[in-house]
Every structure is written in C-alpha cells, then in structure tokens.
C-alpha cells in the first residue's frame, strides 16, 4: 500500500516531531532516574533525548506500558461547582492529539485486547476519544528479552498493527512504514516538516518460530480443570498482595470510580484499581467474596487465561514480561502456566 520513508537519524526524526509540537503531544520512551518510561518530548532534558534511541530500540518494552495513554491512571470525567443552590458542570480539558513514538509489538497488541472491552457496547467514550486521537509508532525487536514471552501469546516481536512501524538501519537511519490511514497522514505531515526520502522498507527481522504458540482454548480448558487446585494456595503463600502486576500489566484494566469534593467544588474520576487488594471486592454490609489472597490470585489468572478467552476469544496476555521482572517475589504468568501444566500432569 504505502512505501516507506527514511531520514538520516533519530535526531532528525525528533527534530521533525518538534515542529509538529503545536498540533500533537509527542511521547517517547526514555530514562528518568534510571527508570524507563514514556515522557513528553518537549519536556525532556538533553540527556533524556539522547537516551530515547537506546530505549526505543531495546529488545524489551519500557517499565510503563502504553495503556496509560488510552486509559490513564486517573481520569476526571465530571467536574462541578456550586454557588448557592445552582450547580454547574464545568468543562474538562480536551485530550490533545498525541503521538507515541517507540512502542513495542507487545504493547501495541495489548491495546487491541483492551479495545475489546472499552470499544464494545456500551462504548467508553473517554477511551474512544483517546484512541482516535492517538497515533502509535512502533519499533521492532530483534531478539527476545530475558522475560519476554510474546511469541507464546501470538505476538510477533517484529510486526504489529501499529499506525507506523519504525526501524533503524545499520547506519542509524530511521525508516518509517505507515500501516494505517492515520499512519500515512502522519508520515506525510512529517515529510513536510523534516527531511525524508521515499525508499524501500527495511527487511523485518525473522524469528524462526521455535517458540510454540499457546492455544487459547487449551489454556482455558487447563484453567477450568485447575480451579480447585492447591496451586493457588501455594502461590498465595509468597504473594505479598501488592498491585504491581496489575498496574504494570498492559492488559489489566480494572478501575474504581471515586468522588473528591471540597465544599463547593468537586470531581468524579476513575482510577486504576487492583484485584489483588483486599478491598477490591469489599461490599456494603461487609461481605467480601474473595477474602483470601489465594482467591484473589486465582481470580487474576483466571481473568487473563480463562474468562477473557470465554468472553473475547483471546488470552489476555501479550508476554511483555513486566510481571516477571517487577513482581517482588517472582510470580509471573509464565510461572503460573508452568505450575498449572505440571499440576494437571500429576493428576
């Protein structure tokens, strides 16, 4: 459909992006206090701009995923104020068009998965607006990172449905290949503000298919059989019940709705919540259907590997490896799958 364009360096691409800063908010992955994450390009220090190269083209995603661009960790959706008896609803800031420069295949895929939740009826209009206004430029991985399991979950490290694919040639030149209408428009815009040349696409790195992809229905069936397995109690013994896995997982999407008000003003907002917290299923009256850590752990993995398959036909994991890297006690979806598998073989 569309051919690629290239520019001589990442700096040149970033400079072109700078010229679009009036129209878009542009985010790129970089380092802040030794932690990787996406930051606005126009707020980066010189060092952070230099660091974009290494992190955008690393063979693993940054610590924070792209989910917060579509589903922010806190989002006000009603703002009101009162004068006497009159209550007025105030206007909210409109989401500006944004560009994510340097997402990875796993994260791109994760957005497709949560699209099934937020863009199915009733449509989540806040999510939808952000989705429509965001353009994703993804990079490819050339090898698997230490904790990566993307291929097992059907994600190709070297290909994704991002709006634009970005690759780096051996001389440091940057290739952009648009894959959607939005992507094509952005590339054309970039070409008008930067020095780009039309060219042939870079070859996509080939992964030899040595990794066996999991079959969603098989995993779902395995999970069904292990609902009463002692493996959940076992895992719960070392789980500390924090919310790290849920907040850093690119497909976890549970949220809480809260009000915050002071006298004559207030907001209603939604904010990430974690099923690992005891209070997650607390009900009025004091009942909690998931009172033990084992209950909550089991629920999380069932959501990812069973319920989501039943409802949406897919496994809700993209193998990004964040749970493996960040869990303080080393529980990850891969280790759970291993335990479920071996547990069944024993019985």
């Amino acid at each position: 459909m569309n051919s690629s364009v290239k520019t001589e360096s990442l700096d040149s691409l970033l400079a072109a992006c700078d010229r679009l800063a009036g129209k878009y908010r542009i985010f790129a992955p970089t380092l802040e206090d030794a932690v990787t994450g996406f930051r606005p390009l126009d707020a980066m220090t010189k060092e952070q701009r230099k660091a974009v190269d290494a992190i955008a083209f690393a063979n693993k995603p940054p610590v924070t995923s792209v989910k917060s661009f579509f589903f922010p960790d806190s989002e006000i959706y009603i703002k009101f104020s009162r004068e006497g008896r009159a209550v007025t609803q105030m206007d909210l800031d409109v989401c500006a068009p944004q560009i994510i420069l340097g997402a990875k295949s796993c994260d791109v895929r994760s957005v497709e998965l949560i699209d099934k939740v937020f863009l199915a009826g009733p449509i989540d209009t806040m999510y939808q607006e952000r989705r429509q206004k965001t353009i994703v430029i993804a990079t490819v991985c050339h090898e698997m990172g230490d904790n990566c399991a993307c291929q097992e979950f059907g994600v190709s490290p070297a290909a994704s449905a991002a709006d634009v694919l970005m690759a780096k040639g051996c001389r440091g030149d940057i290739y952009l290949t648009p894959q959607t209408v939005k992507g094509e428009q952005l590339v054309q815009e970039l070409c008008t503000v930067g020095s780009f040349a039309v060219c042939a696409s870079l070859p996509i790195p080939v992964f030899d298919g040595a990794v066996e992809q999991l079959v969603a229905e098989q995993v779902q069936a395995r999970m069904d059989k292990s609902f009463d397995s002692p493996v959940w109690e076992r895992l719960a013994m070392t789980c500390i019940g924090c919310g790290t896995c849920t907040y850093y997982c690119p497909t976890c999407h549970c949220y809480d709705i809260r009000d915050f008000s002071r006298r004559d003003q207030g907001v209603r907002y939604r904010t990430w919540d974690s099923c690992m917290f005891l209070s997650f299923t607390n009900m009025a009256g004091g009942h909690n259907p998931r009172p033990t850590r084992a209950d909550r752990l089991r629920n999380r993995f069932f959501h990812k590997l069973n319920y989501f398959v039943k409802k949406q036909g897919e496994l809700a994991c993209v193998g990004c490896g964040r749970c493996a890297e960040l869990c303080p006690v080393g529980i990850s979806i891969s280790s759970v799958l291993k335990q479920i598998g071996s547990d069944l073989h024993e019985s």
Binding site: E32, D33, A34, V35, G37, V63, P72, D73, S74, D146, N147, E233, R234, A236, M237, T238, I240, G241, C242, G243, T244, Y247, Y248, D256, R258, D259, F260, Y269, T271, W272, D273, S274, F277, L278, S279, N282, T292, R293, A294, A324, E325, L326, P328, V329, G330, S332, S334, S335, K338
Partner: protein, 291 residues
C-alpha cells in the same frame, strides 16, 4: 553461600521428615533466573530447592502474619534485619514463638544494598534462634560504613535549596502509581487495617495523578514506621518506579537518633521512642526558644 545453603537444606529436610514443622519458609532460586525469591517447602523433596545467597533480600517474617501461615508450625529462615522485624511481631503478640522454629542466618551483605553497608546486626543472637547457620570459612566482619557513605543522597538533598528539593521529590513522587509494594514488602508495616485501606473517602484518596496525595501517603507511612524501621531496604528495592523512598525513612531515623538517642527496633527494649514522651526531653517550641 554454599555452606549455608547446604546446611539449610539439611536442617529443613530433617525438620520436614520428622514432622517437627509443617513447612519451611525460606528462599529458592527464581524461575525467572533473577536471584532468589521467597519459597515454601512442604516436603523433604521440596526442601532440596532451598538456598540462601546474596540476593535473598526479601523479608520473610511478615508472612507469618498471613492467614495462610496461621496455626501452622513454621520453620523460618531469618537473617539479621528480618529477625529484628520478627522480634517486633513477637513482642506485639502477633506471632507465637512456640509455633516457630527459627533458622538464623549469619547474613552476608546483599548485592548492591546500601543498608547492608551500615548494618550492625547481620546475625541474629544465637540464643534467640533454634539453630544458627554461618559460612564459617568466610573471613571477618562486614566493613561498616558511615550513614553518609551508605546514603550520600541524604546530605546531597539537604544541600539543595527548598525549591530544588521540592522539584526532586516532585519528579520522584509523580511516578508513584500507589501500587503499595513498599507497604506490602515492609516487614514492620503490620497494621491489621491500614489507614490507606479504609473505605472512608475523607481519609484517603486513591487518585494517582495528584502530587499532594502521593506526598500524603509517603510522609504518613514514613511516620508510621519511623521508629520501627529495621533497615532491610525492601521498600526501595521493590518499588517498580525506582523511587528512593528509603531516604525518607532513613532521614527520620537520623532525626530520631539526633533528638532522642539511638534506638534499634527489634533489639532495644520497648517502649520505642514514639510511643512514649517525657518531661525531660528537649523542648523545641519553648517560650524563648526558636523552632
């Protein structure tokens, strides 16, 4: 750490075979291959997975407060800092000593931990544990550094101007996602109902994009564990965003020592400095004096 690991496996196997304990809580090599993680062995076969090395950082004593461990006889692997935290729980009657078999470890320094540089209590007292394992042929004492050498960030932050300090902590705290890993990993953060879990919406607000709420959480948590901190370093270790919140706790420790004398949680007799107050203590707000 070969000697300690071997001795540990031997002790654990023996305890499980004889039925003296229901389970052994220690460390094993992580499946992700990133060091050791907490591990529970129920059988002598599983005991063979136990090991202990310089990545065995996680504090284990807190697990004994969990419902999954209550009522069980547990053999617990305790290194110095963990032992101190356990002592606190014992003195608060949260755990019964008779239900525990303590496998004390003469702790080597954990990889990359500034806390270990200033640790004065790497080995639990032999008389307080049921067995003490040491790597006998490893030479000598840990070289103890000064607090400043271990935490140079504290004097460095103190040298900043007020605005610079604010910007520094604003940048750090804005990354906080309130995952509460710090709270869950801390072995002395043991309240049955934490302030931040209360449903009262006036008490706490879970918004993650409001700096004032992050300040509130971190300052109050630092206050609540101020005189209980045992210097295990887990709070900063587990933080996914690399926020150096251990500096807040260490700063408070320094202030406590400065004004009220040295107090080592879990080692010194209760009451702790913040649970009592006396007439003879310094008055900072007196009629004539300045703050």
């Amino acid at each position: 750490m070969r000697k300690i690991s071997e001795a540990l496996r031997e002790v654990a196997g023996r305890l499980l075979r004889s039925g003296e304990v229901d389970l052994v809580l220690g460390y094993a090599w992580s499946e992700q291959g990133q060091g050791t993680v907490p591990y529970v062995a129920f059988t002598a076969e599983e005991a063979a997975n136990l090991c202990f090395d310089t990545t065995s950082r996680m504090a284990l004593s807190k697990y004994l407060l969990q419902d999954t461990f209550l009522g069980k006889r547990v053999a617990l692997v305790v290194k110095g800092c963990d032992y101190r935290a356990l002592k606190l729980s014992l003195s608060e009657n949260r755990i019964e000593r008779k239900h525990t078999y303590l496998i004390g470890i003469d702790c080597p320094m954990m990889d990359g931990s500034p806390f270990c540089l200033i640790c004065q209590h790497k080995c639990p007292p032999a008389e307080d544990v049921d067995i003490l394992l040491t790597e006998a042929d490893e030479a000598g004492e840990l070289k103890a550094s000064s607090h400043q050498e271990a935490f140079p960030e504290i004097p460095s932050i103190e040298r900043m101007s007020g605005d610079e300090r604010f910007e520094y902590w604003k940048r750090q705290l804005n990354r906080c996602k309130r995952c509460y890993s710090c709270r869950h990993a801390c072995p002395v953060c043991t309240c049955r109902q934490c302030l931040f879990d209360r449903d009262n919406q006036d008490a706490v607000d879970p918004a993650k994009d409001v700096l004032a709420q992050h300040q509130f959480y971190h300052i109050i948590r630092a206050f609540h564990v101020a005189d209980r901190c045992v210097g295990c370093g887990q709070c900063a270790q587990v933080c996914p965003e690399g926020i150096p919140l251990h500096l807040l706790h260490q700063k408070l420790q320094l202030e406590l020592h400065k004004h009220y004398g040295s107090y080592r949680a879990g080692l010194d007799e209760l009451p702790s400095p913040l649970s009592h107050a006396h007439a003879h203590e310094p008055d900072f707000f007196g009629k004539v004096g300045k703050q």
